[in-house]
Amino acid sequence: MTKLTCEDTFLIKRRDLKNNYFSYVFRPYSRAVRCKPGNFVHIRLASSDVYFRRAMSVASVNPDREEIEIIFKIFGRGTALLAGCRRHAPVNILGPLGNAFSFPRKNEKAIIVGGGVGFPPLLFLASEMIRKGYPPGDIEFFYGGRRSGEIVERVRIRRLGVNLRPVTDDGSYGRKGLVTEAVEDYVRKHAGERMRLYGCGPAAMLKAMDDLGMKYHLPGQLSLEAPMPCGIGVCLGCVVPLRKGGHARVCRDGPVFNIGEVLL
């Protein structure tokens, strides 16, 4: 069995998506082929302030060219440092880590719900579903953000053939309001149809998704975030409480959990 390891790779493509969002492509990353939607990589940012790696969901892969992409937003020290990387800079990556989303059944509609910087793993999920033969038209891609500028990579998402349903807090792009309100309207309107929910985004959104899934008895999965010192399951720092009692590690038992599994 090939072992996991920390791998030095290079930032070979760096796109500024505006509004503090960036897309980074790393190559050569020998484990690109093993990355599945939901997996994340743990990125080293050698600096005195930022001692831990930072987790970043895989946003796309090109296994032939041994490339992976991440998309991130500057939030604090860690991501600011990451944003300072120049093209060709060496970057140390540990991964792929965590579990993956399970694909919907053929007869299920996929209700994908991304909030803010939670959309990258869902972009990967949608792409992979389509690549595996799932009809793009059966994918509802809800994407919530504060303002129009926070809905990035729209063209790219549309190009997949999915139904992009943008929602902004201020209505500056797409529907106005909370993305989960839009989802609930959709779910109610299509009551009786088979659907599967997929969500990734801020804590409040995940909680609303979880409630919604349980209320309408819809199956689905949520990808969680937590500060992750190790990312591999040994430090027990990233735990979340489970509904059935006990803790789960977001990094290893997740980051993807079934709706209803975690006490959000």
Binding site: L4, C6, R53, P229, G237, V239, H247
Partner: protein, 305 residues
């Protein structure tokens, strides 16, 4: 098995002096994704207590300058599940296994030790005498010489193989605690456990950890650990296992020179899970280049001014 790296502590042979520290490698399962555990000198498990423990609610880790703070709160599966679920896995691993043991009372320490005594797979136990992250038990044991001595003595009565006492640095004079552990019958000492610390999230005005304070670890504390190892080495003849801020083979050399016979790698595993391999290779190369026959030749050899 690179020659010149094997060490013997209290009669137990280790292929090399690099162990993974308690609480930083779980029970070993996850690390097998990175390397066969046989590459390690030893694996030291998370602290095992008599009852399973969930630990403190999250957040229970925080980042600090060149280090981290944690108050996991001794989350562990408890000795029963450790025996039924983890020992079978460990049976298949060709490495030394040191089980770290904790408790709220001396009796609890002894009970866990007694249960483990029946399992030959447990090569040694290490007593966690100074965990800053629990309200009851932990700290008291390692800050009071009498408690230290009694805890070690009671455990020695029920555990037939070697017992390591792991000491806390949060004391005025660690050599007194070390001598008390020796008096109690300890076969070796590990030092240090984490250093009491605290940080505050200035956005929320809340402590960064739900336990309010926690244990500081990582490169930041390496000088503290080295000073403790050296102080104890000067006064106590037990073999010492150095822990605290190790991430390179050069860090390990510092610990050897200050008197450690072996070392444990903790927080560094979070940044680089395969750090032990890099360190072992670095050590092997170093002794080869320097024409040192055996790592033991360096122990305590710092050329004090």
């Amino acid at each position: 098995m690179t020659s010149g790296l094997n060490v013997n502590i209290a009669g137990v042979e280790f292929v090399n002096p690099i162990m993974t520290a308690s609480g930083c490698c779980g029970y070993g399962e996850e690390l097998t994704d990175f390397f066969p555990l046989s590459r390690l000198g030893a694996l030291v498990t998370k602290t095992i207590t008599i009852e399973p423990r969930l630990g403190h609610p999250p957040p229970r880790t925080a980042e600090t300058a060149s280090g981290m703070l944690n108050a996991i709160g001794l989350a562990n599966v408890g000795v029963d599940r450790f025996i039924s679920e983890k020992i079978p896995f460990l049976e298949k691993q060709k490495t030394r296994v040191i089980v770290n043991v904790g408790g709220k009372t001396i009796r609890e320490y002894a009970e866990v030790a007694a249960r483990l005594n029946d399992y030959g797979r447990v090569d040694m136990i290490e007593l966690n005498l100074g965990c800053p992250n629990v309200s009851q038990g932990g700290m008291e044991f390692g800050t009071d010489p009498r408690m230290t001595e009694r805890t070690v003595r009671e455990v020695k009565k029920v555990f037939a193989r070697p017992v390591i006492a792991k000491l806390t640095p949060n004391v005025t004079d660690i050599t007194r605690i070390a001598l008390a552990a020796e008096q109690g019958g300890a076969d070796a000492l590990s030092l240090i456990n984490s250093v009491v610390g605290m940080t505050v999230d200035v956005d929320t005005w809340r402590p960064t950890l739900t336990f309010n304070r926690g244990g500081l670890t990582g490169p930041a504390i390496k000088p503290i650990a080295l000073a403790r190892v050296y102080a104890v080495y000067e006064r106590c003849r037990l073999p010492l296992i150095g822990v605290g801020g190790i991430s390179t083979y050069r860090d390990v050399l510092e610990f050897f020179l200050c008197g450690a016979t072996a070392v444990q790698v903790g927080t560094a595993l979070f940044v680089e899970p395969d750090a032990p391999l890099r360190i072992i290779k670095g050590l092997a190369d170093y002794i080869k280049t320097k024409k040192i026959d055996h790592v033991s030749e360096m122990v305590g050899k710092v050329r004090k001014y």
